[in-house]
């Protein structure tokens, strides 16, 4: 079979998806021609300049790549150095304009799960969809050119965390990923919040579907109302009270999802398959009295309009801007972010009314951001993906790779509680053993379903010294250079090194 070169793919652009169906039936099919494909991949590398960084310290280009992507691959430094970090940021902030043929091919076999109507997801085997969700997340992070978008998708997936292990979330989380996280990752926070409030998976995960007021004595379920303020908007010390939690819960009574079995919450709405998990408002289960949320009156009789009011009130609350700004600064600047940067980002979020691109532009323009080179400890997912990117690896993101993420405790979409995977380094320090073992395994092709062309890759870059500078994003120090030589396995040591754990 004649395989189109990656360059041809990039040129054909729009037809890449069609081709992906026709030629690349699956990632496995693609990996089945690993040698042939890898040749194409390396040819692309040889096409462009591969010059690694020459500075002894992380320079602004290296810093941009470290923070706005899941780590640079070979050639990325040269490309962004020529483009300039500012232009690179603007490119990344317009992901829809970036051709993503490689990623589309890598995830082609799972595309159907993302495009089928929600009700049809219930036809899948109960154990089929969560791995699809996890593998796709890895493949996108590794292969997408829309790196900042993927980084933000990871950020919001933690912010609005849903573990597909709970109840029907195994069927509905993919739709949440599509309609909430990916639809709004670089859009407007308020829109994302609203989408999340009406996401079938969220209604399951935080029991919103069971939040009903059918009789005067019935107590609403407060689970979602609390997390909405504690985790999604104001933050735990954001100034809401137990009374606010109860009032928000009252506002949201009646929103539920159509179920197959009447468990008392979906009422008698026994749905045909295609409508399964469809979100509906049950007027008779809604508390239609007047409410007061965070000091604002919500008039009686608004019915489903209560939800709009709640979203508006919590999204516009000053604590929300501060809370989201702090989390973004923790992700992109430091575990203990400088207050000046948090203030600037808070203002940008407030003034733009939650525009995520504006907020990010401000963050990335702060002096504190520029001063924070190498200060962040990569979480395991980031570490693994950055290693795959740095070594131009091919992966099926299946068991062989997942088992390492499992050992490091960060399989995507497997975090049980609504607070999402911890952001700060202290939670992840005990994973060093598995990072080291992963480094050795990747460097020596001991991971099932994952493959690197070590020899060809080293030759393409121009030798061991260039490999070191490419992986470290800077020139190695004299001590690092000495250690690499003496270790007997320089690539594994680079990936296991403290420098590679940071970004």
């Amino acid at each position: 079979m004649k395989t189109a070169s990656r360059r041809e793919f990039l040129i054909t652009g729009a037809s890449a998806l069609a081709l992906s169906g026709a030629i690349f039936q699956s990632v496995q099919g693609w990996l089945g021609q690993a040698g042939q494909y890898a040749g194409v991949g390396l040819q692309r590398l040889l096409d462009g300049p591969l010059t690694p960084p020459t500075a002894a310290q992380l320079d602004p280009v290296a810093h941009a790549l470290n923070r706005w992507t899941f780590g640079p691959g070979p050639g990325d430094y040269a490309r962004v150095a020529a483009l300039g970090p500012d232009a690179f940021l603007e490119e990344q902030l317009a992901p829809e304009k970036i051709d993503d043929g490689l990623c589309e091919r890598a995830t082609a076999r799972f595309t159907e799960c993302w495009s089928e109507p929600l009700g049809e997801a219930y036809e899948e085997d109960a154990e089929y969809l969560p791995p699809v969700l996890r593998r796709t997340a890895i493949l996108r992070a590794v292969y997408s050119q829309r790196q900042l978008f993927e980084v933000m998708c990871e950020f919001w997936s933690d912010h609005f965390n849903i573990d597909p292990g709970k109840g029907d979330c195994r069927y509905t989380k993919i739709s949440d990923d599509q309609e909430v996280i990916r639809a709004h990752a670089l859009g407007n926070f308020r829109d994302m919040l609203r989408a999340s409030a009406l996401s079938p998976a969220m209604l399951w995960y935080l029991d919103g579907r069971a939040n009903v007021k059918r009789t005067p004595g019935e107590k609403p379920n407060e689970n979602y109302a609390r997390e909405l303020m504690e985790l999604h908007t104001l933050g735990v010390h954001g100034g809401y009270t137990q009374h606010d939690v109860m009032e928000v819960a009252r506002c949201l009574t009646g929103w539920t999802i159509l179920a197959k079995k009447n468990d008392g919450y979906s009422g008698n709405l026994l749905s045909p398959l295609k409508d399964r998990a469809k979100v509906v408002f049950r007027k008779e289960a809604h508390d239609n009295g007047a409410k007061q949320v965070l000091g604002q009156e919500i008039a009686a009789g608004l019915g489903e309009g209560d939800l709009e009011r709640v979203i508006e009130i919590v999204a516009a609350h000053p604590s929300t801007a501060q809370f989201i700004a702090t989390k973004l600064c923790v992700r992109f600047i430091a575990d203990e972010p400088p207050p000046a940067a948090v203030d600037a980002v808070t203002r940008a979020f407030t003034e733009s009314r939650g525009d995520i691109k504006t907020t990010l532009r401000t963050l990335f323009g702060t002096p504190e951001f520029h001063a924070s080179t190498g200060a962040k400890f990569k979480r395991p997912f980031h570490f693994v993906v950055s290693a795959l990117r740095a070594t131009n690896a091919q992966t099926d993101a299946d068991r062989g790779l997942l088992s390492y993420l499992e050992k490091m405790g960060q399989v995507p979409f497997r975090y049980p509680t609504p607070d999402g995977y911890p952001a700060r380094a202290q939670h992840w320090h005990s994973t060093l053993l598995w990072r080291w073992k992963f480094a050795i395994a990747l460097a020596n092709n001991h991971i099932k379903g994952t493959h690197i062309e070590r020899k060809e890759f080293t030759a393409a870059l121009g030798g061991d010294a260039a490999v070191a500078a490419t992986l470290l994003n800077r020139q190695p120090s004299a001590e690092e250079r000495d250690a690499l030589v003496k270790s007997g396995d320089d690539l594994a040591l680079l990936l296991a090194s403290p420098a590679f754990q940071h970004c």
């Binding site: 497997r414 005990s430 053993l433 395994a441 001991h446 007997g488 396995d489 403290p498």
Partner: protein, 378 residues
């Protein structure tokens, strides 16, 4: 780093919880047979364990003879048994019942994972280990948990031709020596754990004359866990499965070798660990029990209540705990199943308390459940 460094989160009290899941729904009425109950023999004319064959436990129960290896633990008061144990799922679906039980209810994340999380960031890279190809759902959400098939999976073994382990480790340590604070401590802890793992002679003869049958992989897994416990690598929780208990058809030919594996593995493990059993608890559980009446194919179908075992860790054993209502036809549930009167959480909760969980932690580990702990230690 000194050998006195403690990699365990629970500091001076190094306790390990070992959870054994019998996948496929093990028949509690064969494992722990109510041999003195006439109804038992009426329901199971061809499959019942005969009183004269059983290992006598008390006036009502006897162990299947293939579990004879557990007799010593029972007699020495180190093995407690709960009958009518199980969860609230009544779908009789393996998947759903295992899923609910391993999650500890209709919640996300595993009960063992939540238990580990209540202890804060782990000190050891080996705080949670599953001897299995994949991580069980019970450990989902653990701060870190390793599914390994052999202790050899832990070591740092260079993969490159000509590379030497000591060179790689030395240069790695050299790079981390220039780090500061928490990362430096974490690296030191990891090197220490590695040293202790590498000091384990995986071929060493088990202690106290214990013998693990080489043809039983389950026992070999337990043997490795015993080595890990003795190496003090900070192992807080371990999981190992024994599958194949779904005996709809010619039950005895399937279940008899499995029981031998289970009993000989547990007995060897207990003997091997010796005094360390006082701080090591083994829990044996299954997703549900099986239909009381045997079926036409010399098998049994999916039921409700099963059996659960707790061994070691200071349990006051030698008792069948939590009661026994008898096998009267009118007290059976649904299609003729032993009901569940010992919810699995009520057995796990006191064990977790023994392993350092307080009331607040238990409420997080088993949310929305009013615990009525079984008196395992009183």
């Amino acid at each position: 780093m000194s050998a006195s460094v403690n990699l365990s989160t629970n500091r001076d009290d190094r306790r390990t919880l070992v959870v054994i899941f019998l996948r496929g729904a093990a028949d509690g009425l064969t494992l722990v047979a109510p041999v003195a109950d006439d109804n038992y023999h009426k329901f199971r004319p061809r499959l019942a364990v005969e009183k004269e064959d059983a290992v006598p436990l008390d006036g009502t129960f006897g162990l299947h003879p293939n579990l004879r290896a557990l007799e010593a633990a029972w007699k020495e008061g180190d093995l407690a048994i709960m009958h009518g144990a199980g969860g609230e799922s009544d779908t009789r679906s393996h998947f759903e019942a295992q899923d609910l039980m391993e999650h500890g209810g209709p919640v996300a994340g595993g009960w063992l994972g939540r238990f580990l999380r209540t202890r804060g960031p782990s000190q050891s890279p080996l705080a949670a280990v599953a001897i299995s190809p994949t991580l069980p759902e019970s450990l989902s959400g653990a701060p870190s948990a390793a599914a390994v098939e052999s202790l050899r999976d832990f070591g740092i073994t260079p993969g490159r031709k000509g590379a030497r382990k000591e060179d790689f480790a030395r240069e790695l340590a050299r790079l981390y020596a220039t780090e500061k604070d928490a990362l430096r401590t974490a690296a030191d802890n990891t090197f220490e754990a590695l040293k202790r793992i590498e000091a384990i002679d995986t071929n060493a003869t088990p202690a106290n004359g214990a013998v693990y049958d080489p043809k039983f992989p389950f026992g070999q897994g337990l043997r490795q866990l015993a080595q890990l416990i003795r190496a003090d690598v900070g192992l807080d929780a371990a999981s190992i499965d024994l599958g194949g208990w779904d005996t709809h058809f010619t039950q005895l030919t399937t279940i008899e070798p499995l029981m031998l594996q289970l009993a000989s593995g547990l007995a060897s493990f207990r003997r091997d660990l010796g005094p360390r059993m006082a701080t090591t608890t083994v829990v044996v559980m299954t997703e549900f029990g099986r239909r009381v009446a045997e079926n036409s194919a010399f098998g049994t179908d999916h039921g409700r209540g099963g059996a659960m075992f707790v061994m070691g860790g200071g349990v006051k054993g030698g008792r069948v705990l939590g009661g026994w209502p008898g096998l009267k036809p009118e007290m059976l549930e649904g299609p003729g199943d032993l009901p569940v009167w010992n919810n699995y959480r009520n057995v796990l909760a006191p064990v977790l308390t023994q392993h350092g969980a307080d009331a607040g932690s238990l409420a997080q580990i088993f949310p929305d459940f009013a615990l009525q702990p079984v008196g395992l230690y009183s």
